[in-house]
């Protein structure tokens, strides 16, 4: 358990640092900006209680907001992501897996599950994020384009990071 907490804290620190030092400065004009820090929320242990999950997501969002000077925007998106995560876990995982404290990583879950988990989650996060950020339905096409391109960017980066830290362990899923 202690190991688990230390791993998650380390992941939090490293990903936030990468986000604000590196990825904040990368982007294709204003159209595509990557936010791979959401991997923090994706990779929290599966059995994290709902309330704790929301609190952690909210705090993660607020931390990023503090660096982006946009209080609340990332927090809202991360909370939405947390909700998606609960929903996705409930419909795709067995009950005994749902209660374990395994990390839902690429090595543990297999690429098929992991890819759909990451892709849909990133899309939802960016959808909420950019809607709250633009806060209007005018020029909606550019909002949608921005969501799509940013999501692709983020998903690619997350996959890259996941492959770099890939460690094949026990398969929690039967397939």
């Amino acid at each position: 358990m202690g190991r688990l907490i230390i791993f998650n804290v380390l992941r939090f620190v490293i990903l936030i640092a990468m986000q604000v030092v590196l990825f904040k400065n990368i982007g294709y004009y204003n159209l595509a900006t990557p936010f791979p820090y959401i991997l923090i929320i994706f990779l929290l242990p599966i059995g994290t209680p709902n309330f704790l999950l929301y609190v952690l997501a909210f705090l993660t969002g607020l931390t990023v907001d503090a660096f982006y000077d946009s209080i609340g925007v990332h927090a809202a998106a991360c909370v939405a992501l947390a909700w998606y995560r609960i929903f996705f876990h409930r419909i795709t995982l067995d009950v005994d897996v749902q209660d374990s404290f395994e990390t839902p990583s690429l090595g543990n879950m297999g690429s098929k599950w992991y890819l759909s988990y990451i892709s849909i989650g990133t899309l939802i996060h960016h959808l909420v994020l950019l809607h709250v950020e633009y806060f209007s339905f005018s020029n909606y096409l550019s909002t949608l384009l921005s969501i799509l391109l940013s999501s692709i960017f983020t998903i690619l980066l997350i996959i890259l990071i996941s492959i770099l830290i890939y460690k094949r362990k026990s398969r929690l899923l039967s397939n």
């Binding site: 709902n50 309330f51 929301y54 997501a57 909210f58 969002g61 946009s70 209080i71 609340g72 925007v73 927090a75 809202a76 909370v79 939405a80 947390a82 909700w83 609960i86 929903f87 709250v132 806060f135 209007s136």
Partner: protein
């Protein structure tokens, strides 16, 4: 009660989501300037168009009153026109000052929201920046002065009414050419206002008319009201005069927004004067 509890526990993910999401949105709207203005603006459009709708019904009720006012104004204008025709025929060398004639532009607008009972009163009208209305223009009715344009959206404008502690309008008393500034002051009655800074030696009679001075946003000589009570001392060498306003703020309907076409020129010239001073 038990069922309610079970329901909450069963869907706790959803309820937590609502709670946290609303909290984040509150943070967003409260702390970020862009979102706040967007939020307030969008709600303003909703509120504004609602008032517009309401007013289109209410205006039927005031139709008789409006008609009467228009008839009165018509006759007033006709009288003035006659006056002009008369002077024109008698005085063949009259020089028409075309600059003075085109100095002000009037835009008619309908009042869609109005308040008179607050400490600071505001009015909303149904014309905005698309109709050429800008911040800081004066607003009058056929009966007198209404206020100053405070904020403008594409289709609506808010007016800081004369019934607002910050509104000051430059006025003169008839016969004497002294000028003072008109404020609502600490009266709370929408029928009365105070003219401040009239020098002590001026004799002010009850019933004397008060006009705009033409120094500020408003054209010269719009009748504002008549003196109701004189000699209210504010200390020092100035007198305050209580006047009864001609504008009936409680049933405002149509107003005119006054645009001074030469204002920029005037301000530029005055800025040069101030530069010379300093």
């Amino acid at each position: 009660m038990k069922n309610l509890w079970l329901f909450l526990v069963r869907y706790n993910a959803f309820f937590w989501f609502i709670l946290f999401f609303v909290a984040s949105l509150l943070l967003v709207v409260q702390n970020n300037r862009y979102q706040r203005s967007a939020f307030i603006n969008s709600s303003n459009v909703v509120v504004g168009s609602l008032y517009d709708k309401l007013n289109s019904w209410k205006s039927y009720l005031a139709l008789e009153e409006t008609n009467k006012n228009l008839a009165v104004e018509n006759s007033e204008l006709r009288k003035q026109l006659q006056h002009y025709l008369l002077t024109d025929t008698l005085d063949s060398v009259r020089i028409v000052d075309s600059i003075e004639m085109n100095r002000y532009q009037f835009t008619m607008a309908e009042v869609v929201n109005n308040s008179i009972h607050q400490k600071s009163n505001f009015i909303t009208i149904n014309k905005g920046s698309l109709a050429g209305i800008q911040k800081g223009l004066g607003v009058i009715t056929s009966n007198g002065v209404v206020g100053i344009v405070l904020n403008v959206s594409p289709h609506f404008s808010t007016i800081q009414s004369l019934l607002h502690p910050d509104t000051r309008i430059s006025v003169t008393l008839d016969t004497t050419n002294v000028f003072g500034s008109l404020v609502w002051g600490n009266t709370t009655d929408p029928q009365f206002a105070i003219v401040k800074d009239i020098p002590n030696h001026i004799k002010v009679q009850k019933g004397q008319k008060v006009y705009t001075s033409g120094f500020s946003l408003f054209p010269k000589g719009i009748e504002i009201g008549s003196v109701e009570e004189t000699g209210i001392s504010s200390g020092g060498s100035f007198l305050d005069v209580k006047i009864k306003l001609r504008t009936n703020f409680s049933n405002l309907n149509h107003v005119y927004v006054v645009k001074d076409l030469l204002e920029d020129e005037k301000n530029q010239l005055e800025a040069v004067t101030e530069d010379n001073d300093g």
